[in-house]
Symmetry: C2
Subunit: 366 residues, 2 copies
DNA sequence: CTGAAAGCGCTTACAG
DNA sequence: CTGAAAGCGCTTACAG
């Protein structure tokens, strides 16, 4: 320990401990200059350590790291961001009416961001508004995020994806169809999940089966419908056109669609809804008609949102690992931004959850 | 229009339009220097315009603003942040198991942030972990947010609030009790909302009334309980100790509590649950016993979360304007950060929503 | 009401 | 493997 250097750079700061000749900065207040001075190296070298450059002698690195730890130094994200013209946050660009979905995606992303230098910034958008691409563009130019995560429906906008590609900003799309490179996709096999729902209903002996799907501009709408239809066909059943309706992925839409479907003669004995919200709408329609679930009408949803387990009887549904997908999306984005490769598309397989809306409660797996 | 100045600062950039002798920077790419040069003023003055300083001649200001608009210049938040050591985002520090609540608060905040320079960054925390205050402290020191918004339960941590006060970072707490200055509080009158629930049940003629409350460490737990109790007392009724149970604000906790309460003799004929999640648990417990709602057991929840309208029969509940509260919190934070004063606490009054779980469906307001 | 200059805390060619 | 110097795009005392 030598007395304080006589550099004119030394700034008087509140002394924390005693006996230190360096006037160490208060916790969390140190800058790269403090570290460099104490380590007797240039800040260029400290910067190398911060950024994991291999071009630092082991001993030098260790010494610097010790001082960093001692000072509880952590580099200022704004300064780093300015210097490299790239900020330390990830943007979540979402246009999803489903709170449950949004929160789970967020949680998954946040899980993956723990221990990294990155923060999550929210950027809601209305993809049905033609101005949304320009808004995202402005957002990116201003804030220079490391990258963007796009869950459905924003993931399905090719205009948006093209713009991002032009701006050379990384992104990861979460969707049920692999419409982009593996390093830009997290895929859920909605087709397979819906097929499992179809097989389940067929195995239960249902013949007169209806389907309520989401909006036509969602890819998942088609994946789920065609997966379901394929499974029925496999079982020798078919999905009649008059038993298919659009529920817009909303509770109200599902209820209205079910009102119409359940009024038909003969009444369908089972309904597969493209998500749990619409399935809850089917419950409502069935209640209004005094129908018993599942005796008069069996119901299967999709998502395994909390509501599925809270209605009576508990709802059979297809579970989408939303949080895990958010986690995977963030990991992939981080890896891609570091230059890592992803030869294969990360894929998630939904699983069917059987509850009391398809199997009478005493025998159901609740 | 004169030919390009011969300053050595001029950088060659892609030309956008034609005919401009200035080689204008591409859209969204201009810097304060470009603006200053074109306006023939110092960047100091441009900075004054950006920051709404009154010390600029009207004509100068107008000229600069025209150029800013023309160039679609918008100042780099990272550079501004670095210079003033304060970033352009607001942190949402939350510890809330309820997705619905979280998303609505977010939406409200985001509504208020549209058109401002600020972004919303998520900072989940586990307030039951003693390390959470230190984590938030680190977050603040590193990222220097303009301020923080704290919904329950993080709003209820005095340790956290004290730390924020010491760090001199602005914050707004959202809670049912005014335990901080008006400029730091958004209050919801849960007491009044719960009282309305109590009056409603009393008016319906219920005598044997039970209550399921949240965790003891939430202030809202006490507000809701005491508001409810006060209303019953007013009606000449009392809340018997053996008819009060803790449901932990969760669906499962509510169900378990209801299992116990409904097993008692005489069975309660009404239950007020401290939130909709627990009320949904009461539905489940009632279903298992084959009880009719509301004939055998009336149920009232709190929040008016989506689930309230999706169960059968639709649930009577107390509506909390969560999104509006998030909006108000963000507005208040922005105003406070600008030095604005707030003499009175911003207060929200919940309203009771009567549905089929207290009034048989044919007469209910659905 | 306006400007020249220093500074915020980093990164980055460029040298060595 | 390491460093001196310039630069990222702003703000801010300080002068005038």
């Amino acid at each position: 320990m030598k007395p304080a250097a006589t550099s004119d750079q030394i700034v008087v700061r509140p002394v924390l401990g005693e006996g230190s000749p360096y006037n160490p900065p208060a916790r969390g207040t140190a800058t790269i200059n403090d570290v460099a001075r104490l380590a007797k190296v240039s800040k260029r070298t400290v910067s190398r350590v911060i950024n994991d450059s291999p071009l630092v002698k082991l001993k030098t690195r260790a010494a610097i790291q010790a001082i960093i730890a001692d000072l509880q130094f952590s580099p200022d994200p704004q300064a780093r961001g300015l210097a490299r013209s790239k900020s330390f946050f990830i943007g979540l660009v979402y246009d999803n009416p489903n709170s449950q979905y949004v929160v789970n995606i967020q949680r998954g992303i946040l899980d993956a961001l723990v221990g990294t230098d990155f923060q999550l910034v929210l950027h809601p958008c209305d993809c049905s508004d033609s101005g949304h691409v320009l808004q995202v563009e402005t957002f990116i130019q201003q804030h220079k995020p490391l990258g963007l995560i796009l869950p459905p429906a924003s993931s399905e906008s090719e205009a948006l994806a093209d713009t991002l590609k032009n701006l050379e900003v990384d992104y990861v799309r979460i969707a049920s169809v692999a419409f982009d490179e593996p390093s830009r996709m997290i895929r859920s096999m909605d087709f397979d999940g819906a097929a499992a729902a179809g097989r389940h209903l067929a195995a239960r002996g249902h013949k007169n089966i209806a389907h309520i799907h989401g909006p036509a501009n969602y890819r998942s709408t088609h994946e789920r419908r065609s997966g379901f239809e394929a499974a029925l066909k496999e079982a020798g059943l078919s999905l009649e056109a008059h038993l298919v309706a659009d529920g817009g992925y909303t509770f109200e839409g599902g209820e209205a669609a079910a009102d119409r479907l359940l009024a038909q003669e003969p009444r369908p004995d089972a309904v597969f809804a493209g998500n749990d919200e619409m399935a809850a709408g089917v419950y409502m329609a069935a209640r209004k008609l005094g129908l018993r679930i599942p005796e008069d009408i069996a119901i299967v949803g999709f998502d395994d949102a909390p509501i599925a387990a809270r209605v009576w009887p508990p709802m059979s549904t297809v579970r989408l690992p939303i949080r895990d997908m958010g986690h995977a999306a963030a990991k992939l984005l981080l890896r891609t931004a570091e230059g890592g490769a992803s030869p294969e598309t990360t894929t998630f397989y939904p699983e069917i959850i059987v509850r009391g809306s398809t199997v009478p409660i005493q025998k159901a797996v609740v």
